[in-house]
Symmetry: C3
Subunit: 505 residues, 3 copies
């Protein structure tokens, strides 16, 4: 009776008690539960060490699975933030890019991306005469470029541990993939977007991911070149956020600005979003999920550092939000909602790499700088680069992602990370005596910048040549929802311009 067995596994003693007859009362505190019977039902023929080890595995499975699901929920946060900060006549289009990227990304990463990222660190490197890969997690001697095992989660990858790792990693990939949808919003062609989704989930994200998290060459800057622990990005300031934000940069550049965004003299016009409450809801959802993102990146709850990671994440979010609010309040006279929300996200992006390595006051400082940086970044992108980024994704994720990995190289305090990337000793930043860690971080940040800008530029450019990635001017002027999605976001509440003109879409 497997179903009943499952219940038994939990509730052995309750059942024993109940089955003993009506004379036995319930156990309202659990004080009378017989742990030994539970032991026998779960670990009958196993040694105590085995049983303790399996309990530890179960703890970590619970942890990784639940934080994975928390991170997945961030997709809803991005959707609400982006729809809230854009205009009503494109709302169905914007929200659907955030919705469908999830599905495209999951299938792309399942088929190809996961294997490239975690299927060993060989790839091209192994062509150079190195040992062939023989396992998913084997770390080859030499420099790794991409992995080659685990496509479609088939064969040996049909394994509870591999599936758990996939679950956790696929949601990071989808976070990266959904970042550019905000910067390219309100003018992106749907079919072009779909192909973009396949590209980032199968190629762009997994390759750089392999270099940092899959045992690839940036992780080996330490063991191979002596640069301290090699490049470290704890939870993805660069792997997820900078890659996302920089892809948003090239995409928005090639796509061009929305009609009406810039005047003929190059000065920008404000194009405010249509739903601040939804955008703030989205920001809260992102904050909520970010605790999974960061604290979950230990991959083990038996690593009790998770509490420090979580508190640092919270402190940086608060500091980023207040710093941005105070700066815009000072500069422009009002505590602008969108900047205040983006300040929180900036603080979160910045603390994502260093969160496990710094004390509380440093988290506040890193977050606050993130908040200032996002305000400056938004002004820089709009006024200097003349790029139209409707939601500020380039500054929030791109600039702060890079700041995050660099800040680790400055502030890591030497209390954590012993043995990281196979190098002895804890991780220390420049201020704590290890300049070579900062060097590794700068190299990693530089590689991230060059890799992402060039590969994503190439992709968007080629795609634009082949199929065109922008909607027609008429569609853009009248709103994308009817022509692209076939459905208004707010039927009966917001009148389509097609309708008011009496035209067909």
């Amino acid at each position: 009776m497997k179903r009943e067995m499952s219940i038994l596994a939990i509730l052995t003693l309750i059942i024993l008690a109940f089955n003993a007859g009506v004379a036995l009362a319930g156990d309202p505190t659990g004080a009378n539960l017989d742990g030994k019977a539970t032991y026998e039902s779960l670990y009958a023929n196993q040694s105590l060490k085995e049983a303790v080890g399996r309990n530890a595995l179960a703890i970590n499975f619970v942890w990784v699975l639940l934080v994975g699901v928390l991170i997945l929920f961030m997709q809803a946060g991005f959707a609400m933030v982006e729809v809230g900060f854009t205009r009503a006549l494109n709302a169905a289009h914007v929200v659907m890019t955030n919705f469908v990227i999830f599905s495209i990304g999951v299938l792309g990463f399942w088929a190809v991306g996961f294997a490239l990222m975690f299927g060993g660190a060989g790839g091209l490197a192994s062509l150079g005469g190195l040992d062939p890969l023989n396992g998913l997690f084997e770390i080859v001697k030499g420099w790794g470029i991409f992995g080659t095992k685990g496509f479609f989660l088939s064969g040996d990858a049909y394994d509870v541990g591999v599936f758990l790792l996939f679950l956790f990693q696929v949601v990071f990939m989808d976070t990266m993939a959904t970042i550019p949808t905000g910067a390219l919003a309100e003018r992106w062609k749907w079919a072009a977007f779909c192909i973009y989704g396949l590209f980032v989930s199968t190629i762009l994200y997994p390759i750089f991911g392999n270099w940092v998290w899959g045992g690839g060459w940036l992780a080996k800057l330490g063991s191979n070149l002596g640069l301290s622990h090699g490049y470290i990005d704890f939870a993805g300031s660069s792997v997820v956020h900078a890659v996302g934000g920089l892809t948003a940069l090239t995409g928005a550049y090639i796509l061009g600005s929305r009609i009406g965004k810039f005047n003929k003299d190059g000065s920008p016009n404000a194009m405010p979003g249509h739903n601040i409450p939804l955008a703030i809801l989205g920001t809260f959802i992102l904050l909520f999920g970010w605790f999974g993102f960061n604290a979950g990146s230990t991959l083990a709850a038996t690593d009790l550092r998770i509490s420090v990671v979580a508190v640092n994440t919270m402190l940086a979010s608060a500091a980023g939000s207040l710093a941005a609010m105070l700066l815009v309040w000072g500069l422009f006279g009002k505590p602008d909602p969108s900047m205040t929300a983006n300040g929180m996200l900036a603080g979160l992006v910045a603390i994502t790499a260093p969160c496990a390595f710094v004390p509380a006051w440093t988290a506040v400082l890193i977050g606050a700088i993130g908040g200032l940086l996002v305000v400056g970044g938004v002004l820089f992108v709009e006024h200097k680069l003349k790029i139209d980024d409707p939601v500020g994704a380039i500054s929030v994720h791109g600039f702060n992602g890079l700041w995050g990995v660099i800040s680790l190289g400055i502030f890591a305090d030497g209390t954590y990370g012993t043995g990281w990337n196979g190098v002895d000793g804890a991780v220390r930043g420049f201020l704590f005596g290890d300049a070579s860690q900062l060097a590794a971080q700068l190299i990693g940040a530089g590689v991230c910048l060059v890799y992402t800008l060039s590969l994503s530029y190439l992709f968007f450019k080629v795609q634009d040549k082949i199929m065109g990635i922008r909607v027609s001017e008429r569609q853009e002027l009248l709103g994308l929802d009817i022509p692209e999605m076939g459905s208004l976001a707010y039927h009966g509440l917001v009148t389509s311009k097609f309708e008011s003109r009496g035209e067909a879409a």
Copy 2:
């Protein structure tokens, strides 16, 4: 000092360290924590086996409690999906059916439903001379119809294990209960809805639930009739979703279509929803909660198969969404948002029964078929059955629920389910050599169909005779919010038709 003792239980060593004086520093990684002191504070006089068993119990309590809460949150998902896909003038009414069903359901299941479903498997069967039930989880020899213990969670049921099981099961019931509110939306009388809530939480859901999950007769098709493992529905494709979707079918049929839905020649008119972003938010919330729904259905995190369950759930959701999107895109020229969202839900419903028994590629296939099925189902219900289902609940939950349990009988790959329902060996579907498992699944699906359609038809028919279940034509035309709820959903934004006509509601 119990409060302090609780802290002690966690933080024993911290406190010891701190109390030893200022000379002792904090422990920023937890490396110095003294596990032995924690052991002594929690398990002082217990053997190691007892302690390990109690740790396992605690792991499973954490798991079941947290996934239960995730599932509960799906109520918010249903609320947002249904309000988003219906019209603004009924928005308060629609959202409140999804809100109040929770409360009615919880109290109905607490008072009656839980006992009928899990209070043993005797009921009418025991009248036939079988042994009387003497425990909540005892499985009687014979065929079970309903349980008889645990009403009001009183007496022996005042027990930490029973309460945990109640928590987990009540949220499944409420998921079922909230499904029909979408299909019956925009014309359902509030008082009739309230009585419906009591009926499904006390009778309709628990009885079928007992047959499948409470040790009742469908679970015994294997041990009693030799049909392999008997009827298996891992997480409720049938128990929750098909019962919900088929109840939606009879309800929407008896209630009749909304005014204006069908023309005189029987052709349907589109009545688009008023808030796509909210509907997508709701879909994301449902996806989020579904990981609790499916992975949680092991009832034990010490069963590491949870990672396979979770990944299969995710893959099927993605495949369902993309399959539906591509099909409607091909058929009608646009990637319709509501179909794309319903495709995800369809994939989720379909994978709910087989998620623990199949490999990744099969999950993709089952989900994709679910996505195609929901598009076909919606067209079938609207064009052939001429039933008005504003949100597509019949196709999403009804048709795909049945597909889900059948797919298990086809694709179960023999890697899981050893001993399920008291039958030796792992669970195999038709393609893996066990035709009798498919037979059991078809019987279960058929019973679900007949049971639900007939009992729910009877209920709605009788209720309609007694009190009338539909609002007046005038109320429907002017919007239900004012006459039924006394409050507009969007006061100041959407003008009531009563207001614009200068009439009282």
Copy 3:
């Protein structure tokens, strides 16, 4: 290879299996995982008792961290409820008070509040000649007023256990802090609100919190005065909710009512909210988070009473909602959405103190009384006190918070709480033979009332004298979003009155 080591910690056996070569297949159920290898990788040189203890610590870290994050998400619930129940032209202002209070609160509590609340129970008391504090959790002999250690989480507080406690406690503080934003909505000056946030997170909340949860004098009413177990508030009916609701009362009183709320004869006008679906979403989010709030307050999942706590929480929420709905339906003819939602919140607030100490039927009763009380309370505040509370926060949190702690003194059934506050025996209420527990509860409730009303009154009064806490009449009439925040909530959907008048804000 620390990153790999983390993976190793979880997945030791998978890796061993994979590295052994391609001949070894994946492990799709986890049945072949070698727990002993996991043991060796995590607990190599530790005794079995140490390892079991560390597993227990990890379980409780997972539990506290995840419930802490659930509670944090309640901020989003408050934001949606408050924005939904107020008017569209103030929506950005309302939602931003709920957003920014989080950040202000976090930094205030980090810098000052946490230390005052949990940094020992000495404070002023120690000036009277008592032993000086020498540890964060030391309980001094005598009466405690506030703590003195742990400012900025620096020094010895840089500790995984202390950070975990901070994470859990800071979200309770922020819940309290966000309650008054609803009652003061639509007329509160932004700068005044920001200073309020600092005040409550550093002073108002932590001081009373120290008395109840930090080992302060109310917790010692038992050991010092013989009043049974002293004052008990399990999860914060008073510490969080009554303090919040009573601060809302003085704030709304001093701020005055919104223009148009009361007629010259003192009769009130309804000022309905603009978005019921968002308000209901917010209520669901609060319900979701409340399971963390209450069940998490054991601070340990190894205390299996968490299932009883969670079920009681759910039952009270359902009963509160239905009781309020039926009462307003009977009184005014319609099942008003806002009262039904507030009824659920009222039930939740009421059960928060007694949830761990009562059986299921009592939870239903306490919640139902809460639901009736909130309806009566709203009418009383509006018609008798003539105070304008746009969202009903005073009744939901203030009145029901007091009811919650008193109900514990009546209904605690003697099955839980052995040793609480250092007093032998389980906790019993008046109905179970312990009148002195009820006396302690009445004293605590009275102290909460007097402390909160007087200190918050003083604060608002002084602040109003110094800087003025209310916006100008013109700003209020035209909507706060443009003048206060610089941004409309619904740009393009809701026309600013400034715009329609052709005036500058």
